[in-house]
Subunit: 213 residues, 2 copies
């Protein structure tokens, strides 16, 4: 390889897949054990509905990482566990000052964001909505619609994903539930625990210093 | 500012604009003087058709740059100067190891790519085509259709643009012309001059070292 070759990938909106991808993974319901409020409903769904694919990602990763970018497509099935909408596992970037850009393609959903010190933001996403997830924000996608929810994404190739930050605080602070009239509402997650002042201060310091790890 | 706030920007496919952008610029025909093969046709177009807007960009740039990303929308008008299709100025990233991702939204066009040592690649782009421009490639967009050509783009916020690399070599090596049957063809640019072996070697060394400036 002299130079990395340009490539093109065609997005199939109907299938919710990107052709010519270098990677493809699926998450099944069982992969999301422990993330939902209603554990009984989760077990019932798993036993009656089977261990279905709840979201999948087709992505392209560059062969070299320095300064480079990853992009791909996320397809989320519609559904609820009890009254809670299907969600992705969620993460903060392992290199926390890295952002992510999502672009809604089909269906309706939202990005649930949480700052290290527990502020919540919600960005609703429909077709042609760009959602910018700034550095340092924990983020999770939620399908609030009755159809599949499909988004394109891109982020720096050296960002990585840290899933533990959510697990360690008992989940994200808010949950996205059906509001009983066809829409969604946010409710507190009773199990949520604030991150330590030390953890927050470290990330704030990093941000103010403009540190790139 | 404690943390940078998440934002959403709605893409208007029909207008070819992104709402809630932080920046907006337009390029007029006169801004592209000297880029086309047929200078007489360029002058005639300018004098008869007026100094029209040939492409415009609505974009969002983050307040901090470290590790961050810029995104936006490019709308290119359809047209030709003589037999040469409307194009953008084209650039390599000032930090040359930075990539760029384009996503076709409307119309038809292509990305004309040139490696530092003069290899040409062409990626055709239609709606839902993702085009990955790897680090180190000079790139220019060309509208080969009869309608507007609209693409979303994203790239690292510290990438910058170097336009001189094209000017110094007498333009890009190939030109994209009408083929007389409604399609396009590539032809040599007689004015093109190869970059020095030193320039190419420096960029190759940088790539193999994985240098992030």
């Amino acid at each position: 390889m002299k130079w990395v070759e340009p490539i093109s990938c065609q997005v199939d909106l109907q299938q919710g897949l990107m052709h010519n991808a270098s990677g493809h993974y699926q998450k099944r319901l069982s992969d999301l054990a422990g993330l939902y409020a209603d554990d009984a409903a989760f077990k019932a769904e798993l036993s009656h509905g089977g261990d279905r694919v709840v979201y999948e990602v087709t992505e392209w990763r560059p062969p070299a990482r320095s300064g480079d970018m990853i992009f791909g497509l996320t397809r989320m099935s519609p559904g609820k566990i009890g009254e809670e909408f299907y969600l992705t596992r969620g993460h903060i970037h392992a290199v926390a000052d890295r952002p992510e850009i999502y672009y809604g393609q089909r269906g309706e959903g939202l990005m649930l964001l949480e700052s290290p010190d527990g502020e919540t933001r919600i960005v609703e996403i429909n077709a042609q909505t760009v959602c910018y997830v700034p550095p340092y924000w924990i983020h999770r996608s939620v399908n609030t619609g009755s159809d599949e929810f499909v988004m394109l994404f891109s982020y720096p190739a050296d960002a990585g994903q840290d899933y533990d930050i959510i697990a360690h605080s008992g989940g994200m602070r808010r949950r996205i539930m059906a509001d009983g009239t066809g829409g969604w509402k946010q409710v507190d997650n009773a199990a949520w625990q604030a991150r330590s002042a030390q953890t927050v201060a470290k990330l704030l310091d990093q941000q103010s210093a403009g540190v790139t790890l």
